[in-house]
């Protein structure tokens, strides 16, 4: 069973808020959800919408064919009517004139009735999330206006909801983060806000400096002093940080960088999603120095990989870049797996206050003093390379790739990051195997053998040029000819992707 509900209206009408309320209500009724958020860079007006996909089985994507449209304005009906299934339903604002800002809650009430649930769970969620006495009356009014259509029964699944941003913040807190530095930038800001909210409770500090250049240099300073430190940013802000990344490479001060990419170049599509920044994650910063680049595909992995990023950075004095995008950061996922073990992030190095410890942006000797001695230059460069080998060895102990789908299938789909949900859902029940690449640098040796064992290999990415494909070719010499690339800033919908994958097999 699977339904897709689109909730749309103008920015400021509480679209994302009510979508979250609906998602939470469904989860509490035992259903798996995926809540996709689509909004332009507008504070009031425009057309914002969410698609809440629900199922009695685990899902991590939304689909193109809509069962119910909840319209808070006329534009939503006009724009999204064509996505509605033949027997689809529109629940519209017109039924509730005079409810003002509570119209969204009234429509949520209508939806819950249409789905077939009683309204108690919804009422408790609304009470907790909206401090407005009239909101419960509004949802009751909405509820009473409809009759049940889908007759869904309450299921006994234990599910919680988590966005990618929340998961990254949780992973950082699990790693005992001390300081987070960030300048506001969508879609990275979610993590800053999550960490800032409970900073006193979690005993960490979130600081907003005058820009990204300052953020990364402050972060290096704080980490040097002994703090477990992370910075967060997106495309343009990350570019500004590049020189700081290079200082990390020379000074070997542990640092975790969260890069939430968005469609570029320049300001691009600031509130949309794309995987166009893999290559800057891999190569930004002048000079040659080791780094770790890891790209989780869902909140569960995000929590785990942030922890690994902290662990590896501290253990090796290395740069860890955690690569995400808006689709992972801002979508809400069902979380149902058990908590995994957290790797300890322990600061054992000599820090200022304990004695003289000097690090330098110059090539430097054992005391941290600048040198231009060619022998030392070679030794230091060789050590940077050796460090990468040690990191690579350590990463073999971690999950660098994952395999989903039919284990003996000769049809191999390769992807990474936020496309995971749509791919896993698209290949469900089909003759496909999915290789998800989590560690982009270092990279698993297993990728080559998986490709060689397959008959058809299809690369799936949301970018223009197939950046993972290029990286795989660099590392393995193997070119992936079949590619499904999407670069309109919108993520894959699993039903559409399934069709595209099947078509690729025929071509």
């Amino acid at each position: 069973m699977r339904l897709n509900i689109l909730i749309g209206g103008k920015a400021g009408q509480g679209i994302n808020k009510v979508s979250g309320i609906i998602a939470e209500t469904l989860v509490k009724n035992g259903y798996y959800i995926f809540n996709y958020r689509d909004y332009p860079s507008i504070i009031r007006g425009g057309n914002n919408f969410n698609i809440v996909s629900i199922s009695d089985r685990p899902i991590a994507s939304h689909e193109s064919a809509i069962d119910v449209v909840i319209a808070l304005d006329e534009d939503t009906i006009k724009i999204h009517k064509s996505s509605l299934k033949k027997d689809g339903l529109i629940l519209a604002y017109k039924d509730f004139s005079g409810l003002g800002l509570n119209t969204n809650v009234a429509l949520a009430g209508s939806l819950i009735k249409v789905l077939g649930f009683d309204n108690k769970v919804l009422a408790s969620v609304v009470k907790a999330k909206i401090k407005n006495k009239l909101s419960v009356d509004a949802l009751t009014e909405g509820y009473n206006k409809q009759t049940s259509k889908f007759n869904l029964k309450v299921l006994n699944n234990q599910i919680s909801i988590l966005s990618g941003s929340s998961a990254i913040a949780k992973g950082a807190i699990n790693s005992k983060i001390d300081m987070y530095f960030a300048y506001p930038m969508t879609p990275a800001t979610g993590v800053s806000e999550m960490l800032a909210k409970d900073q006193l409770k979690n005993n960490c500090l979130v600081f907003q400096p005058e820009g990204e250049i300052s953020a990364i240099n402050m972060a290096l300073g704080a980490s040097f002093s002994g703090a477990r430190t992370m910075v967060g940013t997106s495309g343009g802000g990350y570019d500004l940080m590049s020189e700081g990344l290079s200082l990390q490479g020379m000074s070997q001060i542990p640092l975790v960088v969260y890069l939430a990419s968005r469609p570029g170049p320049a300001t691009g599509l600031p509130t949309y999603s794309m995987q166009g920044d893999l290559e800057i994650a891999l190569r930004s910063g002048h000079g040659e120095f080791p780094r770790i680049v890891v790209a989780p595909g869902d909140p569960d992995e995000a929590m785990e990989k942030v922890n690994e990023a902290f662990y590896l950075s501290e253990k090796f004095g290395a740069l860890s870049i955690l690569l995400s995008d808006k689709h992972l950061a801002e979508s809400e996922f069902s979380l149902f797996s058990k908590n995994k073990k957290t790797l300890p992030v322990v600061v054992k190095r000599l820090i200022p206050g304990q004695g003289v410890v000097k690090v330098s942006g110059y090539e430097s000797d054992a005391d941290g003093l600048a040198t231009e001695d060619p022998k030392i230059a070679i030794k230091n460069a060789d050590n940077r390379l050796k460090k990468y080998q040690a990191i690579k060895k350590e990463c073999q102990k971690l999950e660098m790739i994952k395999i989903y789908g039919k284990a003996d299938s000769k049809n191999l789909v390769i992807g990474w990051g936020s496309t995971k949900g749509a791919i896993v859902d698209a290949i469900d029940g089909e003759d496909f195997k999915f290789l998800q690449v989590l560690y982009m640098m270092p990279m698993s040796n297993q990728i080559k053998s998986e490709i060689l064992a397959a008959k058809n290999v299809i690369l799936v990415e949301t970018n223009l040029t197939g950046q993972l494909g290029r990286l795989i070719r660099e590392k393995t010499g193997l070119k992936i000819e079949k590619r499904i690339l999407k670069y309109d800033g919108r993520p894959f919908k699993s039903d559409e992707l399934k069709q595209e994958l099947l078509n690729k097999l025929k071509s």
């Binding site: 200022p352 206050g353 690090v359």
Partner: protein, 281 residues
Amino acid sequence: MDKPGVQFRTNQKITWCPGCPDHIILESARRTLISLVEQGYNKNNFAMAAGIGCHGKIFDYLNISGIYALHGRAIPTAIGMKMGNPNLELLVFAGDGDTYAEGMAHFIHACRFNPDLTLFVNDNQSFSLTTGQATPTSQPGFKSNLEPLGNFNSPLNPIHLALSAGASFVARCNANDIEHTRMVMEAAIKHKGFSFVEILQDCVVFNLYVNNKDRLMYKLPEAKRTLKKALALSQEYDYINNKGKIPLGIFYAQPRPSLDEEWPQLVNLKNKKVGWGGLKK
């Protein structure tokens, strides 16, 4: 390297030009640290960040912890170090090109954020390690290989700027005067909040036109001044040679809550006398 001790010297060969006032600034800084240790400061708690330029070489000659930071970025690096462990006494050594060209935003925001650290800007009114180009404090008409038509800009006044931006301690020194510089350095370090100390120095190789200013300099009497009075004093010197008097000493010192007194997390670290690295979580 010296054992950490009273001398604060390293074994690094000093490579400043013969006659460069940077040698003297190093000596003032060393004497300041020695004096503070004698007064009970913990030698291990001194830490520094230096920018890139001739001034920055002090990083290799002063035996305290620190980061030899990027050009223009010594200030945010030091603020980060301070937030990483608010018990550290942070010194920032920077240059005029470093601070007022590449790193200007950090300078202004440090005045606003008011972290409890001290910024020393060695101002020789030229980029010297890159062989003599105009900085924001160079005089108009300054010619270099990069600016053969001469610099068209008037120098900015960093003392005036720091006061306007809200710096809680603003002072000027003459690099040639070791003892006065030491006294001002010591007062700046003891000040709670962001302290800005401009150190005027000659460059013996480039931009010779602005050298030999000592005769214009006079020492301000020690006094508590209003911002208005300090701003007026700051305009006595326009950074163009042979014009006006050059006041030296503390223009303004007015403590206000510093960054590490505002953030409860940092107050907690100070109370516990640890940095994040020493905190049990």
